[in-house]
Symmetry: C2
Subunit: 231 residues, 2 copies
């Protein structure tokens, strides 16, 4: 390893590690002991050279002529991602999405634990979900502190999201996963990741339209702006 472990794994690599981890867990379940970069790359749906380069950023964990020990690699990636420790997660907003998230199997997988649920609607407060009672949003700060929450998932309507973010940041949270369809404004040092369902659909629609255009040979014209505006 030359430039390897010197703290600084490319973001693109970090984003793929969970993918490799899942593929490895699949192999482990089927009892596979070692795997080559080629086979693992196929299972993860990436190019094998990229996979090897990604793994080389973590260290030199393979054996030439053999491949990677599945269990050992699972451990190394888990450790790098911080999954060997327990993360207390709070979900704010127990609507349809919040419920889905709380129940989502992979969500509560190794390393993550739903430690608190919040909602503003008093008719929901007290309800039990995955063994947790829903707390009222008024108790946000105290519950976060009491239960050692370090990651907050925002699953509220868009209008409430910024306010929730401000409060949890004031309470010391620096990692937020945002499902609300708004751009959160946060101070430096706070990480926000956004998952946006409609964005993904729109990107698909773009490509689907491209295919249709190519088939019919009729890319829509920039013309009828006036008509559209009248409607």
């Amino acid at each position: 390893m030359s430039q390897a472990r010197e703290r600084g794994i490319p973001d693109a690599t970090v984003a793929r590690l969970p993918l490799y981890l899942r593929a490895l867990n699949g192999l482990a379940e089927r009892g596979t002991a070692t795997v080559s970069s080629e086979d693992l790359a196929v299972a993860a749906g990436v190019n094998s050279a990229k996979l090897r380069k990604d793994l080389s950023h973590l260290g030199s964990y393979g054996t030439r002529g053999v491949g990677y020990d599945v269990q050992y690699l699972i451990y190394q990636i888990s450790r790098e991602l911080g999954l060997t420790q327990d993360w207390a997660v709070a979900i704010v907003g127990v609507g349809n999405l919040g419920r889905a998230l709380a129940n989502y199997g992979g969500f509560v997988s190794r390393g993550f634990r739903v430690a608190a649920l919040f909602d503003a609607d008093r008719s929901v407060v007290g309800e039990r979900l995955v063994g947790m009672a829903v707390d009222h949003i008024d108790a946000l700060e105290s519950v976060i502190e009491d239960r050692g929450v370090s990651i907050v998932v925002i699953a509220t309507p868009g209008a409430a999201a910024q306010q929730v973010a401000d409060r949890v940041i004031a309470a010391g949270i620096t990692s937020i996963l945002n499902f609300a369809p708004v751009v959160l404004t946060v101070p430096d040092g706070v990480d926000v990741r956004k998952v946006d369902l409609s964005t993904e659909l729109q990107i698909l629609a773009f490509h689907e339209q491209r295919k249709a255009d190519r088939d019919t040979g009729s890319p829509m014209m920039a013309g009828d702006w006036a008509e559209v505006m009248d409607a």
Copy 2:
């Protein structure tokens, strides 16, 4: 425009267009008529030079010294993304996540319409959701054809996802949004986008761990592999 409209908008740009569109809709609601790249960039949370270059790929729709006409730009981006036409979307898997998706406001926003719901569980079939009755998965192919579905959302358990994908592709679908935690194998020409809730959490955990390491000055050692394996 020099290399502008010649069909070929960078993926990175396409991925940001929905973001701009949302920011613009927010401005439109507040009655703003025109906006500068600088202000729009702030609203969308990006660098203004990047915003301008992104928009320049669509054409030259701004006015120097003034900015962009909000309504006009909304129309142009919508058109480019294919949102001026109606997309019939089917959701396969009406569990917690499927229900959340069907009810998600932004999901049924301009351009998209939930046209079919499927589940394998007969106790769910017939149930009504957002004005649609849930169909049994057996009717997948015929309903997709009858209702002109062109985009399929897979919200099934991981084990069922590949099989669902194979069937909808055989039925002519070429755009899939996959929420199941598996890598789908699909033929060329089929677009798959994956939304993975646990992946996002894992990336957050990585960064959160980094911050913690920096504070305590104690990056976890590669040591105790044996201990962990014994557990």
